[in-house]
Symmetry: C2
Subunit: 251 residues, 2 copies
DNA sequence: CGAATAGTTGAGGACTCTCAATCGGTGTGG
DNA sequence: CCACACCGATTGAGAGTCCTCAACTATTCG
C-alpha cells in the first residue's frame, strides 16, 4: 500500500540535493524551479541565451491570490520559484476539490494545454514567486531543440503519472493510509528540494488536505491526532514533524 | 455533481459523428483512432507521406492479453483502432487498480513518457486492433511540424484533464454518483464515436468497474440494480441501455 | 485585543465494505 | 445433447469506517 506509481517529484529529480536557500537573488530562472525544462544543464550552449531571453519572467502571487483561474485563457506555463500553491477544480455545484500541491520547483499550468483554457485554478498558499514561461515561445524552442522537447514531454508525463498516483490513493486507500501517504509525499518532496524530510510547514488547511484526499477535514484532524498519539508524528497546527517514517509507511 | 472537468473524449472531438463502421479496410491509420494526431486534416500535404510512412503500423491484441505491461520499456504510443482496453496499475501489495478505459480512437501509452518505462499496464477487454506510433519518429515529426507538435501536446493535455476529472469522481462523489458518472462518460464517448449513446456493451467486469471507481464490485452491482429498478437503465450483464439520461445526470 | 477563522473532539448515523449464499451464463466433456 | 464445473453477477445480513452535526478551543490577522 501507499504506493505512488512513480516518484512524485515532478520536475526536480536526481539532479539536486543542493539546498535552495530562501533568498534567490536573481529574478531570472537560474535558481528556479522546473530544472529539467528551464535549466541549462545539458543544453547546447548556443541555446542558453535564447532560453534566458525568451522564457523566465518572475511574478509574485500573494497568499490566497490566484495565479490563474479555471476558465482563464491559457498562454503560459509556470514554475514555482518559492512558496507553494494549491491547484483546484470547481465543479458545477460550486464545491471545490483540491487536485494538487505545488512546491518550489514544481511546474504549473499544464491543465490549459488541451483546450487553451485552464481547467484548474492555482491559488497561492503563501506569498510565492512564480516563473512564467510563455507557451508559444516554449513550443518554438522545443522545435529547435530535441533536448528541450524531451524535457517538456517528460514534464508533462511526470504530471500525468503524479495524477495517476493520486488516483490510486483516492481509489484504494483508507483514510489513514491517505493521510500517511500524503505526509510521506510531502516529506519526500521536501527532501528532494534539500530541506528536512522530517519537519515542514504544511500550508494547506485541514479542509484543503481533506479535499485533496477525498475525506472530511474532521477525519484529517482525527487521524493526525491519532498518528500523534501513536508517536508517528508531532503536529502543531501547520508545522509537522515526522517522528517515525517507517511507521507511517506501514500504514 | 457528476462534473467532468473537461470533455472526456481524448482524441476524437468535434470532428466526427460519422459512424466508424466495424470493418475498417486498411491496416493503416486512415480510419483509425487518434485523429488529432494521426489524421491528415489540417496537415500541410507535404507532411502526409511522412506520417503515413513513419507512423501507423497495426497490431492485434487478444482479449486478456497485454499491449504493454507496467515496467516495460516505453518506445511507442498507441491508438486503439478497434476494440477496447483497460489501463491499470499494480501496487506493491499486488492489488491492481484500473486507471482508465480506452475505446476505439483513444490514445494509449502516455504513461511511459516521463521515465521511458510504462507505469501502467494496458490489457485488452476484447480482441482489439492497435496502431503503433514509434515515439522517436513522432518526436522528429513534431519538430518539423508545428501542427503535429500542437496535436501531440493537446493529446497529452487531454489525458491529463481526463485523469483530473477522474480524481474528482474519486474524491467527491458518492458510489451512486460515481457509477452514474461512469455510465454517462461511456455513453458520451460512444456517441462521439458515432455509436448509440443509449446502448452499448461495456466489456469491463463489475470488478474492473469497481476498481476504476474506487468501490467494490458488490456495490457496483447493487447500484446498477437500483438504477434499473428506478427505470434509469436496463442492464443485462455487460449490455447496458440507458433509459433516462437526465435522470442519471441528476444523481 | 478581539473577532473571525482554523482546528479539535465527541456522539450518532449513514454509507459502503466484508462475508456468504445463490443465481446465471459459458464452455467442456461425457 | 445434456450435465457439470467454473466464473461472473446478484443479493442479503452484519460490521466498520467515515460523515454529519455540534460544541469547544486555538490561532491568526486586522
Amino acid at each position: 500500500m501507499l504506493s505512488p506509481v512513480a516518484g512524485s517529484a515532478i520536475v526536480v529529480r536526481q539532479s539536486s540535493r543542493a539546498p535552495l536557500t530562501a533568498a534567490q537573488p536573481s529574478a531570472r530562472c537560474s535558481g528556479c524551479a522546473m530544472r529539467h525544462l528551464c535549466m541549462p544543464q545539458g543544453l547546447p550552449t548556443e541555446e542558453l541565451p535564447k532560453l534566458e531571453a525568451l522564457i523566465c519572467a518572475a511574478r509574485k502571487v500573494r497568499r490566497g491570490e490566484a495565479l490563474y483561474r479555471s476558465g482563464d485563457r491559457f498562454d503560459s506555463l509556470y514554475a514555482v520559484r518559492s512558496g507553494s500553491l494549491k491547484t483546484l477544480i470547481v465543479n458545477r455545484d460550486g464545491r471545490e476539490q483540491i487536485t494538487g500541491l505545488r512546491l518550489a520547483g514544481d511546474a504549473l499550468g499544464l491543465d490549459g494545454i488541451a483546450t487553451d483554457v485552464h481547467a484548474f485554478s492555482a491559488v497561492a498558499l503563501e506569498d510565492s514567486s512564480i516563473c512564467t514561461l510563455p507557451y508559444a515561445a516554449l513550443k518554438t524552442l522545443c522545435r529547435e531543440s530535441g533536448t528541450m522537447q524531451d524535457r517538456l514531454h517528460r514534464l508533462m508525463g511526470d504530471q500525468f503519472n503524479q495524477e495517476a498516483s493520486q488516483m490510486m490513493v483516492l481509489g484504494s486507500l483508507t483514510a489513514e493510509e491517505r493521510v500517511a501517504a500524503f505526509l510521506l509525499d510531502v516529506s519526500s518532496r521536501n527532501w528532494q528540494r534539500g530541506y528536512s524530510q522530517a519537519e515542514f510547514r504544511l500550508r494547506m488547511s485541514r479542509e484543503d488536505m481533506g479535499s485533496y484526499l477525498g475525506i472530511t477535514l474532521e477525519t484529517v484532524s482525527r487521524i493526525l491526532s491519532r498518528f500523534q498519539k501513536r508517536g508517528l508524528i508531532d503536529a502543531q497546527g501547520k508545522l509537522i514533524r515526522i517522528c517515525d517514517i517507517e511507521g507511517l509507511q506501514t500504514v
